[in-house]
């Protein structure tokens, strides 16, 4: 839409970004805020990753070599909180900020000042959470699931844990409101809901999930807070409370939360695979319905995290069957991706490689998820390394690979230059090899009987743990290649507006780099070009 851009330059209220630090502190521009979210997320990835390195160093051999069990538990707890709330979720919010307005032809997010606020809450929340490492009693060590009564044994860090979770929830809810309002009100008039790109669709659904469940988490941790400081007994058996009730409330949040972290990933790869297959996405509408079904089912499966907690038989049956059902819409998605590639004309640039890695390895995580759904077998799998393998497969080569894919895919649109393709490909291959070396052996460890969240283990688990540690260090180092790609991202050749070979979508109608202000006037839907 060259006309839209030309108009933008002539518009009387057009101004570039403010100078210096003020640009970032006070910005209401969706592109600036998107960039900040993405940089924040990458920083948190390295912070949480450093904690993972502590964990894997300690677990490389049996016996304790580096840290005490207390500190080990702090590391596992903080690693999870930082990766879930600090790395994965903000990365998707960053992609949403950058791309949703560009994809739906909107000039900005609907609520730009709130957008600024929802970002700037995050550094405060994580500063607060990180500061607990220096407090008497250390950081939270009761697991990111914060099960009472154990979490109430946290030292001075406890109220800071609760308040930082409140802040993260606040930020997420505001981000979600912004996404919904933007999508509902600011689409270009020719774009009906069902015609929206899949990334926009999955984010719309994700935003509803966020609004539905973040308050539930906030409520749960507030009850922990009053149990600790104000004499209530929501979860304390001695006062007539029920520790298991916390688990129900937590997982009522927690299960939709895992889809919050995967639905936008589905969206990203659903954008990328058609571009590099040179074919329209197969089953666009069924992708939307599948995502909506997954979102609905996510609310009625929470207790599959609790098959060993002592539930009535009928309860277990219900949660087992409901959980198994999720395999159906998820399968539809995977089949649709394969069908999109089928009879295409594929090329394998870095975004496509990461998307293909995603489809393969996320599916492996999906398979172990199906196994975990079988309640009697879950009795054996539960709280073992099999579970650790499962959720890392869906989160690392799942969500994180999709984020990487999206970053490579849209990077030329953001910077105006092609990134270093060779470095990108090396990044992909090293990540893929090492992520499997890290997490595949964990399936065996779990099946052989190694519980999760232990700092030390019996000697028969030594070899697979050593492999996993080697893999983890390799994976961590591989991410430095990504930093190199980012640092050199403006050195490559100039990117065209389309960047790739005839991609479809409004974001490819604006120049690269995308001007500070885009779509001052509502654009027409582009015509799909035939290869």
């Amino acid at each position: 839409m060259t006309t839209a851009v030309a108009d933008a330059h002539e518009a009387h209220d057009d101004h570039g970004p403010a100078k210096g630090i003020k640009r970032w502190l006070f910005t209401t521009n969706h592109k600036d805020i998107g960039t900040m979210y993405l940089i924040f997320s990458l920083t948190m990835l390295f912070v949480g990753g450093a904690m993972a390195m502590v964990i894997r160093s300690e677990l490389a051999q049996p016996g304790l070599q580096f840290v005490h069990p207390e500190f080990f538990n702090q590391m596992t707890t903080m690693h999870a909180l930082i990766m879930v709330f600090g790395a994965v979720m903000p990365a998707f919010v960053g992609l949403a900020n950058w791309m949703i307005p560009l994809m739906i032809g909107a000039p900005d997010m609907a609520l730009p000042r709130m957008n600024n606020w929802s970002f700037w809450i995050l550094p405060v929340a994580f500063g607060m959470l990180g500061s607990t490492l220096l407090m008497p009693g250390g950081a939270p060590a009761g697991g990111w699931t914060m099960y009472p009564p154990l979490v109430l044994q946290t030292g001075d860090a406890f109220p800071f844990l609760v308040f930082s979770v409140h802040l993260m929830g606040l930020s997420s809810i505001m981000g979600a409101i912004n996404v919904i309002v933007t999508i509902m009100n600011m689409r270009t008039p020719s774009m009906s809901l069902i015609k929206m790109p899949i990334f926009v669709w999955t984010w719309l659904i994700t935003a509803y999930l966020l609004i539905a469940v973040m308050p539930v988490l906030a409520g749960a941790v507030t009850m922990l807070l009053t149990d600790q400081f104000f004499g209530t007994s929501f979860f304390l058996a001695a006062g007539g409370g029920d520790p298991v009730m916390f688990q129900h409330i937590f997982w009522f949040f927690g299960h939709p939360e895992v889809y919050i972290m995967i639905l936008p990933a589905f969206g990203v790869v659903s954008e990328i695979i058609p571009t590099f297959s040179r074919k329209p996405l197969f089953g666009h509408d069924s992708m939307v319905y599948a995502a909506a079904s997954i979102a609905f089912l996510s609310f009625i499966v929470w207790a599959h995290h609790m098959f060993t907690v002592g539930m009535p038989l009928t309860g277990q049956m219900f949660f087992m069957f409901a959980t198994m059902l999720i395999a159906v819409p998820t399968g539809v998605k995977v089949f649709n991706w394969v069908a999109t590639m089928w009879k295409g004309a594929m090329t394998f640039e870095t975004p496509m490689l990461f998307s293909l890695g995603f489809v393969f390895l996320f599916t492996i995580g999906g398979f172990s998820g199906l196994m975990l759904a079988i309640a009697p077998a879950d009795v054996q799998y539960h709280d073992t390394y099999f579970v650790v393998a499962h959720f890392h497969y869906v989160l690392v080569p799942g969500s994180v690979f999709a984020i990487m894919a999206g970053a490579y895919y849209w990077l030329p649109k953001w910077t105006g230059h092609m990134y270093n393709e060779t470095a990108g490909k090396i990044h992909f291959w090293t990540s893929t090899i090492f992520v499997n070396l890290t997490f595949f052996p964990m399936h065996f460890l779990g099946l052989a009987g190694m519980p999760r969240r232990i700092p030390d283990y019996s000697t028969q688990f030594a070899d697979f743990n050593f492999m996993a540690s080697i893999g983890a260090f390799g994976f961590g180092l591989s991410q430095l290649i990504f930093v190199y790609v980012l640092l050199t991202s403006k050195k490559g050749e100039k990117a065209t507006a389309e960047v790739w070979d005839k991609p479809y979508g409004l974001e490819w109608t604006v120049p690269s780099p995308a001007p500070y202000h885009t779509f001052d006037e509502a654009p027409e839907m582009p015509v799909r070009s035939v290869h």
Binding site: P149, L150, G310, L313, L447, A448, P451
Partner: protein, 268 residues
Amino acid sequence: MIRKSLLSALGLLFASSAFAEWELNMPRGVTELSAETYELHMIVLWVCVWIGIFVFGAMIWSLIFHRKAAGHKPAQFSHSTVAEIVWTIIPVVILLAMAIPAAKTMIELEDTRNPDLTIVATAYQWKWHYKYQDEGLEFYSSLARPSLEARRLDSEKSPWEVENYLLEVDRPVVVPVGAKVRLLLTSNDVVHAWWVPELAIKKDAVPGIVNETWFRAEQVGTYRGQCAELCGKDHGYMPIVVEVVEPDAFQAWVDSRNESDVSVATAN
């Protein structure tokens, strides 16, 4: 097969380690239910493997033959109602086929009626207390001394020198072979979980709640497990050992425990 070669390379590094003891799969266990659980696990594993072969096969085929570099011209189709109905219905059928045996096993797992022996296990940070309800005997069970010495951060004793490192207790649970043992679980402080893989039971020990589960061991032997729910700093150090013995030996053990002074039971 990068993984395999890496595996063997790492194996060479650890030539001294217990390489032969590598376990890749869930144990079949020593109870009827553990065998059923194992079968369920294998069924769903093979279902996943076959779906994987089919899906990944189609994908790899496409990656090889539908490349631009191979000169393939892209088709422009974007839906097929028949295909979409087929790949919705087939998974539903597979899931139903798996749900039936799973439900059957689950019903058996929850049937704690008519036990031959009832043991109350109470979890503490970080040890177990066992009380044999009808035999009138009780004791604490904690990590055995050799493991305790080797587990410290600055320990001079290597875990490799300790037999059953972290999986040995001072006083194991003893049960007769072939008897239906009902386990009542609760906790004195935080949530723990009682897990012995060979018996295929894992149940949380929750303060204020008494959970039930059961097993009937069909082979004499020693079976080891661990606490399976994060319970604080020594979560990794509260193992469970179950000795399954002949009924005579069990009776002899009960008698000897009752003869020896009660102080053993309460010394902890």
